[in-house]
Symmetry: C2
Subunit: 333 residues, 2 copies
Amino acid sequence: MADVADKAGVSRALVSIVFRNQPGASQETRERVLRVADEIGYRPDSAARLLARGRSRTLGVMFTVHQTFQTDLIEGIYPEAERLGYDVLLSAAVQGRSEAKAVEALLGHRCEALILLGPDADAGYLDALGQRAVTVSVSRRVPRARVDFVHSAESKGVRQAMDHLVELGHRRIVHIDGGRGPGSAERRRSYRAAMRRHGLESEIRVIPGEHTEQSGIETGRLLLAERDRGLPLPTAVLAGNDRCAMGLLMPLARAGVEVPRDLSVVGYDDSHLSHLMPIGLTTVRQDAVLMAEHAVRFAVERLENPQLEPREAVLDPKLVVRGTSGPPPGEAS
Amino acid sequence: MADVADKAGVSRALVSIVFRNQPGASQETRERVLRVADEIGYRPDSAARLLARGRSRTLGVMFTVHQTFQTDLIEGIYPEAERLGYDVLLSAAVQGRSEAKAVEALLGHRCEALILLGPDADAGYLDALGQRAVTVSVSRRVPRARVDFVHSAESKGVRQAMDHLVELGHRRIVHIDGGRGPGSAERRRSYRAAMRRHGLESEIRVIPGEHTEQSGIETGRLLLAERDRGLPLPTAVLAGNDRCAMGLLMPLARAGVEVPRDLSVVGYDDSHLSHLMPIGLTTVRQDAVLMAEHAVRFAVERLENPQLEPREAVLDPKLVVRGTSGPPPGEAS
DNA sequence: TACTCGCACTAGAGCGCGCTAGTAGAGCGC
DNA sequence: GCGCTCTACTAGCGCGCTCTAGTGCGAGTA
């Protein structure tokens, strides 16, 4: 910075002013300073800036690599953060790197707020986090924790999907749940409620699973094994999310079970992959961009107005009918 | 920190020593300092620490969200970095956020080294970057730029794939290239060379594309439209990467073209999705974990020994035969 | 006694910025 | 000419830490 100041023939303070885009420098000087900085390859040091200013204007985002819906969210987070003048730092939870570790890394880099995409941690931990920093949880509801919360109305999404299937004539509809995955509990509950509402209480079946392709594959194998033992296949499956639905399709296709002729499959999320499958996945769309924008705005607003209480945003999901759902076998279409 | 020092009756320097776990303080004092710090709720400020120490021990990783192979790489980067005592910061290039911006963010947060996953930037920019910070490029070769380089031997991978197809009896093999995508140029060149080597020079056809599902879908539509005009379909397609291959399968399936009976498809990368497709994608495996480890090690070693010259690691890819490749139509299997 | 050595600890100079309080000079009205 | 304001710019402190170069002291050695 001193080098830039010398070479541009101004004081360090003026360079600072230019880089913060603050009034107090002529247009001419501004350009000269920026040009010199570019030549030297100078870049403001955020650590020093942070130290001097006390604020980092940085949002930390914790996500799970491979969760396609979360990468969709990230795409929405960047532009909104930039619009509001905030920087974004990403930290991934992966195999062998827990959420807590990912979060510590963010905090260690002085993020002012945390945006957690589908956190798996317990409410106590999240509440403690919420006391320490502004925290937003996306896709996971955490009652009584001091965190903002952005999710979509799982019950509405599930209801739409179930109504769609029942209208097509399905009765034997099973649900692969998402285990501890975000939104799973609500989806499971809503599935049960929908079955009861349609008088299908006796057909309720929840197969434990996860939000992964592997889980879908395993469920597929399970169902096929049952069929081979003489049990009937369900006529429709409501998967925990799109990845699970995609996994499910693999063993089915291999075994010659045709979708949707023999079996209908509905996913959840409408992640960017779901319309890329051979016949397009019928799924429940959550608007990732909108969710991302809400999350960023919640964080920033609470940062700039600390007495604000955490809020909750519930967005409406929407069923997207594509190629994997149709009338059950035995019914004319 | 001063408060802790006062209350514990020592100097700030000693508190610093205690918190850095360095020799130079008695066990007794150590405990007293830690106890007092805990009472006050003192935590070292990493921004100040960073500033004072001059080293951040942080690696910055630039990646493209949605490139599944890159997320596979990220999974490999974390554990290796942790093993070597380095922190990792992620920055994504997305629509509307260029690579340069993503890199600036990393540099601004004082990353000591940059690991760029499949960078798209030109050699001049990368060289400039390499002068300024230790830089590693993964999957993209940048001749004469001051960067380390980790990639796999594209020519070997393509040759294996092509030999496989030719052995099966294919002659009309087209290649969807990856445009400016990492490795595309080499793959394209190797495809041409392999065709010539097999005496198929007259059959060479490279369809321009990208490393996206969308590109595969468009190519599929193009080929189908040609077929409808009476032109023959190719019997095999070597896609630019797995995503492109997956996209290609969609319009084919819709149009009733059966894979691999009517058409063989080979991908590239073996990203974690390729074995999750209905019939498993035949593809060229690049070992993401190994590549990630090399990248981290290159960065760290050059950081700790600055007179080291940038190096290059070329890993051997390996063809993985799954369900999308078979003999061409008209040949007995 | 005089010395060296090692240990526990301290003083104080930065690290690269932001920010407050200030100055110099131009322009203006009276 | 004077005082005033406004713009463009500067000096220098301080953010919370690390690190170098010390000081003081007791034990061991000649």
